[in-house]
């Protein structure tokens, strides 16, 4: 089976064959021998790769797989040949002219620095979020017009919550 694993540092081609608990995995031409078993919980995996044992937690949401082990987390997007082509073109389609500004951590919205319709330059602070007594300015990295403001002052927001949507200036 051939898969493509996309990570922030790039895409890797993965050839994987299964024989019982043993998987032969070739990543970008380099071969690994893996023994995988369920361990402890529904998402827990004990993985021995080339005689080294790792306790891994694998959580999949849609195409994204979050792999955590030893306190480190990797987000891996797995696609087969077909999905990869489809996914690529779909991504192209959704690449419209808006930019969502998300909360980098959970916190309380202390103030909203922009108004709907306002034109903003890159670097303009849009929202201030307080977490653990520290105030954090959330700025837009793109310039454009504020299309939506999705939060109110005093709201508690989760990480990755979309705060403000910016419509990019026509290039």
């Amino acid at each position: 089976m051939i898969l493509y694993a996309r990570m922030p540092d790039g895409e890797r081609k993965v050839e994987i064959e299964k024989d019982g608990h043993t998987y032969t995995v070739i990543i970008d031409g380099k071969k690994y021998l893996a023994d995988a078993r369920a361990a402890g919980g529904p998402t827990s995996m004990s993985l021995i790769v080339d005689n080294r044992c790792y306790e891994v937690v694998v959580t999949t949401t849609g195409r994204k797989t979050l792999v955590s082990t030893g306190g480190e987390e990797y987000e891996v997007e797995i696609a087969d040949e077909l999905e990869r082509r489809g996914g690529a073109s779909a991504a192209h389609h959704t690449d419209i002219d808006i930019e969502e500004i998300k909360a980098p951590m959970p916190g309380v919205v202390v103030s909203i620095e922009v108004e709907e319709g306002q034109e903003v330059d890159p670097g303009t602070p849009v929202v201030i979020v307080e977490a653990m007594k520290m105030q954090n300015e959330i700025a837009t990295l793109v310039g454009g017009a504020v299309r939506e403001i999705n939060v109110n002052q005093g709201d508690i927001v989760d990480s990755q919550k979309t705060l403000v949507v910016i419509e990019r200036k026509a290039a």
């Binding site: 890797r12 990543i27 369920a38 995996m45 030893g70 990480s159």
Partner: protein, 503 residues
């Protein structure tokens, strides 16, 4: 003479998180009943289950719960507690709270309200120390009235100097001046900041000591005039005046300086008529001279390193002293052995300028084994609340010597798994392998000068290929499952169990 003292029967802990649990454990071991309080944001905090009783005290903001003196005293009285332990932070250094406890017939487990108040005002504290022969940093004799006076003092002691708020602390409202031309404006700004932060515009001047080490001495003092020291702690690994790593003994002190700084701390405690556990903080300059900084009139976050080298349970001693017992140790009984280090684990992202990283903790696996101590309160599925301090755990190790303690800390950090939020664990792993730290060559500027967020990348415990393999295997198994009837459990899982059983 006073009647023979008796231990309290019931104590309220006016705090949350790991320090509340630390105190509950001590109370449990002493056979003392305990009462926890919690804000609405802390209904699911684990400290509740370590107490015999848990009582709500109001909404999440600390001002309406953990800082609300009336509410806490009301719970203490209603539950018939005899004493209150404040932990650290929140009301621990509030002389108003200490006084309110006394007025309500409760024992405040800490120094008297008067000591707290005297030490809380930096200029007053400095004067008391100077008068008692404790070395203080050259500077103004108390508050400085105006810019002209500031200019004169600065000229006398020599630049650089520092402007500080009398009512301040923790680095807030401080300002470094390198030349006379800056003074006038800096003085005005400093006053207005001090006013807005602390409600008091009073400013004083001190000589600015470049790249000092932060050394503090733990003391214990009882009602009978006995004061002993439990050795020093080295707390120079700081970031924005926030300690991150503490250890004892300090690699910077020779035996003679150690004795001198510890005995000075006892002198300072006596000058302040100090009672209970406390910490005298000093700055150590590059010549080996040290200067009084302040007295922390409470239990410190980093008290465990002292406990591990002395074998003395500081929290139990706080409670015994407050119960009216005389200290069970003389100075000659204190013989620190080996070396101990503490790493503070914050829910902060060291790769991203230590930005808070909150959210739901998915999984926790604490380090264990020989000479590793963990003080923590988080668990898998716990949402770290946004309202309070981001300290989620402390790891403390002991070793025969500093090298062994560091090696053990590296091992312990390698075992530590906290998933769902970013933590300072990778930062600490970097420090434990950093040549400067390992050789003891560092000061309070260490992190700013040497640590780059991406330095932690080099200490990835698990290469990304493992994640690719795990995700790919998971994908293979999902696709295998997809062609089987719905409702069937994970196939590789079932197989694993069947085969295991057949062997």
């Amino acid at each position: 003479m006073a009647p023979r003292p008796k231990l309290f029967k019931k104590v309220l802990v006016a705090n949350r998180g790991e320090i509340a649990i630390r105190v509950f454990r001590a109370l449990s071991e002493m056979g003392i009943a305990s009462v926890a309080v919690y804000s609405e944001a802390d209904r699911l905090s684990s400290h509740l289950a370590y107490a015999d009783e848990a009582h709500p005290i109001g909404p999440p903001p600390a001002a309406e719960s953990y800082l609300d003196i009336d509410k806490i005293i009301a719970v203490a009285r209603r539950t018939r507690c005899q004493a209150v332990h404040p932990g650290y932070g929140f009301l621990a250094e509030s002389h108003e709270f200490a006084a309110a406890c006394r007025d309500a017939g409760l024992v405040f487990i800490g120094p008297t309200a008067e000591s707290i108040k005297a030490m809380g005002f930096k200029t007053r504290a400095k004067k008391i120390m100077a008068d008692s022969g404790v070395p203080v940093i050259p500077g103004s004799d108390g508050a400085v009235k105006n810019a002209a006076a500031a200019l004169k003092v600065a000229g006398d002691i020599g630049y650089p100097v520092m402007l500080k708020a009398s009512a301040g602390g923790g680095g807030k409202g401080m300002r470094i001046i390198y030349e006379a031309a800056e003074i006038e404006q800096a003085f005005r700004t400093a006053r207005s900041e001090a006013e807005s932060y602390f409600g008091d515009p009073e400013i004083f001047i001190e000589k600015f000591i470049e790249r000092p080490r932060h050394i503090e001495v733990q003391i214990l003092a009882d009602d009978y005039g006995n004061v002993i020291y439990l050795g020093e702690r080295e707390c120079s690994v700081q970031r924005r005046y926030q300690k991150l790593i503490e250890e004892t003994p300090s690699p910077a002190l020779d035996a003679a300086t150690r004795k001198r700084i510890c005995e000075t701390a006892v002198k300072a405690a006596k000058a302040a008529r100090y009672r209970n556990a406390g910490t005298v903080e000093f700055m150590l300059d590059r010549n080996g001279d040290f200067y009084f900084l302040e007295v922390n009139t409470r239990l410190q976050v980093e008290h465990p390193v002292t406990e591990l080298v002395t074998g003395i349970d500081i929290v139990k001693n706080q409670i015994r002293i407050a119960s009216g017992f005389e200290l069970a140790y003389g100075q000659e009984d204190i013989a620190p052995e080996g070396s101990s280090i503490e790493c503070r684990i914050y829910a902060e992202d060291p790769k991203n300028d230590f930005l808070p990283s909150l959210g739901r903790i998915r999984r926790v696996k604490n380090p264990e084994g020989p000479w590793v101590r963990v003080e923590s309160y988080v668990y898998g599925g716990y949402d770290v609340p946004v309202y309070y301090d981001p300290l989620i755990a402390k790891v403390i190790t002991w070793g025969e010597d500093r090298k062994a303690a560091i090696a053990r800390m590296s091992r312990a950090l390698g075992e530590y798994t906290i998933e769902g939020v970013e933590t300072t664990i990778p930062f600490h792993m970097w420090v434990m392998r950093d040549r400067k730290f390992v050789s003891g060559d560092f000061d309070t500027s260490y992190i700013d000068r040497h640590y780059r967020g991406n330095a932690t990348e080099a200490h990835h415990r698990v290469p990304p290929e493992i994640a690719v393999i795990a995700a790919s295997i998971s994908a293979v198994e999902r696709s295998a499952r997809a062609v089987r009837p719905a409702g069937a459990a994970s196939r590789w899982r079932d197989t694993a169990r069947r085969e295991g059983a057949a062997r």
